[in-house]
């Protein structure tokens, strides 16, 4: 795992939970130990190259080092290529901090590669220059001269010894040698030995005849007392034996090859024994014996000569193998440089990763939080500043999560309250839409905000009224009386502020709006809406249609008048009628002119009294109209039965009934007798308007027609009965008065018919209106509750 990790439990937020090998301290330590070991090995190798044989150094070590260098170069290339490729891919993917990481890696690589390459170049140059100095001309000359001296000295000694052995072979008496006469040659040999320092002379004779292999037998051997091995100790005996054996071999070889031979034996004390053998030939040239002359080369002399020649050989070898040896050192130096480069590169990449990865994780964490994952937690594996930063990030994430939860809770509460407010608003809107009271709300600027259905109906406003200034809307001719409300509101808000605690913000006015066919009486209330600081935020106009109330008040007044009239008028009528009849009886016996006069007067009195009685009865009926007895009734059937009553009257008439009954009309709870009376009254009025049963054809050519229709208004829960005619109609100004008692356009009758009709309809919970039919005539619309 890296320095950071996302908290467990959230796999999506753990992009790098897998522990990387290079993040394992053991792997890091092992890699570091390996690199240090390789470095130490190379240093050891460079220190021990002087002890390695040159051919081995120039061949095996060189190629081994080349192999090491190639391996290290491949490793370096792999590390570089892999990481550069990763950086390139990260940049292509626009990964966070990819650019920063690339710059960091480039800086770290430059900091390691440039010095290393410079050191490599400089060091290589130093190696080459130093090697060149090893083999300078003076050194060459000195070494060559020393070697030449040593070689010359040696050769001189050798040649002198060869001359001595050759000469001695010629002067030694051959017969004495063949005969093995030691004394015959000993004196001469001893004399010769006297001239030879640290020397030894041995005479061999050849044995064996024809057909047999020749052999050599020592005849005489004399040696200087200073010769090693002369001492009678164990070492000396062994040396002497070794010397003797060597002499035997040399003598045998001379006999075998028939040529002189010169060799050198090494003695135990480090000295050398230069030996030269020459054949003793007979007159016929046959080899009869061998003279072997030996002389010791002292250890110092021999050692010095050998030292000089060895140094010369080493020097020459070095010079001859200069290039491979230089290559070995260069390869060692290159390997060390590559090791340092690999270490520095790897360390640089590792450091870059150590630096950028925590920041990258922080960025990823921030993005996760931005995406709404507030439970993201980063794990810090280091206690440095980055660790503190991670801790701060975690604290921030936790606080954000808490804030988010509080916010969500507040949101839920707000949403709940909004739902409640919305429900309350719908409730109020429903009420406002359903109530008969008109409600208009105005904003602070005097513009109409809302208009409920009742207000639209009462004020005959269109749906476009909302949003318009109230004064423009109320500037309409019939609505101008409403401006008084706006004036009052405007007067009550000087400076736009109302003290709600001191001033009553409501105003109630009774306003009468004149329509072309009727008057509408409204109880209008204007209420200013004040904010928390008392500023005016708008106003509410509440309009109650009090027209039915006023009508009812009027009807009640008329009923009271009717009852009083009936009571006050009807009482005297009977005495008046009785008095008139008495007078007629009293004057029955009077002269005919008198009788005729009295009869005429009393008839008139009685007739008028009867008329007054009828009038009073109608008054009484109007005053004492009973309450309806509501029974579910089919209105279509009721109307049909009522119209059937006119069948006989209109049999020969031009007047036509046009029935348009709704088929889905529900049963309506009505008092059938009273509704029948209503229908009869309306049809009678229509017949009257058309001119009675013998009504003429209408000026337009259309037949006189009375239309009766029923309909069901499900939305408003009403049943409508519409009775219309195509007669001349009623002037608009008189239509509202039609339902007033004692108002008649016929000039006769009590004028109570339509008043009774309205009262019956109102007591059924409905209403009736008179309107103008198209193209002419009057239309009465009765609305009754459907339920």
């Amino acid at each position: 795992m890296g320095i950071l990790g996302i908290s467990p439990g959230d796999p999506d937020a753990r992009p790098d939970a897998r522990r990387r090998p290079l993040d394992n301290p053991r792997v890091l330590i092992a890699a570091a130990v390996l690199l240090i070991g390789l470095l130490a090995g190379l240093i050891w190798l460079s220190n021990t190259t002087t002890e390695i044989a040159l051919p081995v150094l120039a061949e095996g070590v060189f190629y081994a080092m080349i192999g090491v260098c190639v391996t290290l170069l491949l490793a370096l290339g792999f590390v570089l290529a892999r990481n550069l490729l990763k950086l390139w891919v990260e940049q292509r993917r626009a990964a966070p901090f990819a650019r920063f990481r690339a710059k960091l890696v480039a800086a770290l690589l430059a900091m390691s590669i440039i010095p290393a390459v410079l050191v490599l170049i400089t060091g290589s140059q130093v190696i080459l220059n130093t090697a060149a100095r090893w083999f300078s001309e003076p050194v060459d000359e000195i070494v060559s001269a020393a070697s030449s001296i040593a070689r010359t000295f040696y050769q001189d000694r050798k040649e002198a010894l060869e001359l001595r052995s050759s000469r001695l072979a010629r002067v030694v008496p051959a017969p004495a040698v063949v005969a093995g006469d030691e004394s015959g040659v000993a004196n001469m040999v001893k004399d010769e030995l006297a001239t030879l320092r640290d020397g030894m002379i041995e005479i061999y004779r050849v044995t064996g005849g024809p057909g047999t292999l020749p052999d050599v037998v020592l005849v005489v051997a004399v040696e200087s007392p200073t010769l090693p091995g002369a001492a009678p100790d164990e070492e000396g005996r062994r040396t002497k034996e070794m010397i003797r054996a060597s002499a035997d071999r040399i003598a045998a070889r001379v006999v075998e090859t028939s040529n002189p031979a010169t060799t050198e034996d090494q003695l135990a004390n480090g000295a050398g024994l230069l030996r030269s053998a020459a054949p003793i030939r007979g007159p016929d040239g046959a080899i009869l014996g061998v003279v072997l002359v030996s002389q010791q080369l002292t250890p110092d002399l021999r050692g010095s000569a050998r030292l000089v020649t060895s140094a010369f050989e080493r020097y020459t070898s070095l010079r001859l193998l200069q290039v491979p040896i230089q290559a070995v050192y260069l390869s060692i130096f290159l390997a060390v440089t590559l090791l340092i480069l690999i270490s520095a590169t790897w360390l640089g990449l590792y450091l870059a990763k150590r630096i950028t990865r925590p920041v990258q994780r922080l960025a990823e964490g921030a993005r996760a939080i931005g995406a709404g994952q507030f439970d993201v937690r980063l794990e810090a594996e280091s206690g440095d500043e980055l660790g503190s930063l991670v801790e701060a990030f975690n604290v921030m994430a936790a606080e954000l999560r808490t804030s988010r939860e509080k916010l969500e809770q507040s949101g839920r509460d707000l949403e709940h309250k909004n739902v409640e407010v919305e429900a309350r608003r719908r409730y109020i809107e429903t009420i406002l839409e359903r109530v008969a009271t008109g409600v208009i709300s105005l904003d602070a600027g005097g513009r109409i905000s809302t208009v409920n259905g009742a207000a639209e109906r009462l004020l005959a406003l269109g749906p476009d009224a909302a949003g318009q200034p109230a004064r423009e809307v109320f500037d309409r001719e019939d609505l101008r009386p409403l401006n008084v409300l706006l004036d009052v509101i405007a007067r009550r808000e000087p400076g736009g502020v109302v003290d709600a605690r001191r001033e009553p913000r409501g105003l109630v006015e009774e306003i009468t709006l004149a329509r072309e066919d009727r008057e509408v009486h409204l109880a209008a209330a204007a209420t200013a809406l004040a904010g928390e600081q008392g500023e005016i935020e708008g106003a509410v106009l509440v309009l109650d249609d009090v027209t039915p109330l006023i009508r009812a008040q009027r009807v009640a007044a008329w009923r009271d008048v009717a009852r009083r009239l009936a009571h006050e008028i009807k009482n005297p009528l009977t005495p008046i009628q009785l008095s008139a009849e008495r007078m007629r009886r009293h004057f029955a016996t009077a002269p005919p002119p008198t009788v005729a006069l009295v009869s005429e007067c009393t008839d008139a009195i009685i007739t008028e009294v009867e008329a007054l009685k009828g009038l009073v009865d109608e008054f009484a009926q109007f005053a004492r109209l009973r309450g309806p007895r509501l029974v579910p009734t089919s209105l279509n059937l009721l109307i049909d039965e009522t119209l059937a009553l006119y069948g006989g009257v209109l049999q020969q008439s031009r007047v036509r009934f046009n029935r348009q009954f709704a088929t889905d009309l529900p049963a309506v709870k009505v008092d059938a007798e009273q509704i029948r009376q209503v229908v009869i009254n309306l049809i009678d009025n229509a017949l009257e308007a058309l001119g009675g049963p013998v009504a003429p054809v209408r000026p337009s050519g259309a037949p006189p027609t009375i239309a009766i229709a029923t309909s069901h208004d499900r939305r408003n829960g009403l049943v409508r009965i519409v009775v219309s005619d195509n007669g001349p109609g009623v002037p608009a100004a008189d239509r509202d008065k039609l339902f007033m008692p004692y108002y008649s356009t016929k000039g006769r009758g009590s004028g109570l018919g339509l008043a009774i009709v309205r009262r019956i309809v109102v007591e059924h919970g409905g209403g009736i209106e008179a309107g103008e039919a198209d193209p002419s005539g009057t239309v009465f619309t009765i609305e009754l509750p459907a339920a």
Binding site: F62, I66, K158, R306
Partner: protein
């Protein structure tokens, strides 16, 4: 810098011995199903080699002797192989050459001589080197003996020697048909 360039150049060229192909003269003799190869590479005793030897460097000539059967479809089949070496060390004090001849790492003979022509012969000529094929030679089949020379040390180094298929310093071959 010039030295560095020269050293770099030396890394790619130069050897003690560099013979043309065919300068190792090979004479195979078949006897009792075995092949005796006699070969000589007198041109291998170059002035460079002589200078190296007289400079005190131990010079080794290694000869890889191979008995192969040609194959047109695949690598020629190796029937037998021997490696013989001749190693010379010059004693500049005595002026004598110490020559050792070995086969497959085993010393065959060791000689000392002050005569350079004799030394040259010991170094560049081998007589009747036995090649014993694992399988009997096929009558009327064509075979060849190839001898490749490798000289060490090299006076200069060559990157060619890093080539995985070792590059020799000279070679020669002799083709024969085995007739029973």
């Amino acid at each position: 810098m010039r030295r560095a360039a020269a050293a770099a150049l030396a890394l790619v060229a130069g050897s003690v011995v560099l013979l043309a192909d065919g300068e190792v003269k090979v004479t195979p003799v078949v006897s009792e199903g075995k092949v005796l190869a006699t070969f000589a590479a007198p041109a291998a005793w170059t002035p460079d080699a002589r200078e190296l030897v007289r400079g005190g460097v131990t010079l080794t000539y290694a000869f890889d002797v191979e008995l192969r059967r040609p194959s047109s479809l695949w690598v020629d089949a190796l029937m037998a192989h021997a490696r013989v070496e001749a190693q010379v060390k010059f004693d500049s004090l005595t002026g004598s050459f110490q020559v050792s001849r070995m086969r497959d790492g085993r010393v065959l003979e060791s000689n000392r001589s002050g005569q350079e022509p004799e030394v040259k012969g010991w170094m560049t000529e081998f007589q009747r080197v036995l090649l014993e094929p694992a399988q009997p030679l096929e009558p009327n089949a064509e075979y060849y003996v190839r001898v490749r020379l490798f000289a060490t040390p090299r006076r200069n180094v060559s990157l060619w020697t890093l080539w995985p298929f070792s590059r020799d310093d000279g070679s020669g071959r002799a083709t024969f048909t085995f007739i029973r």
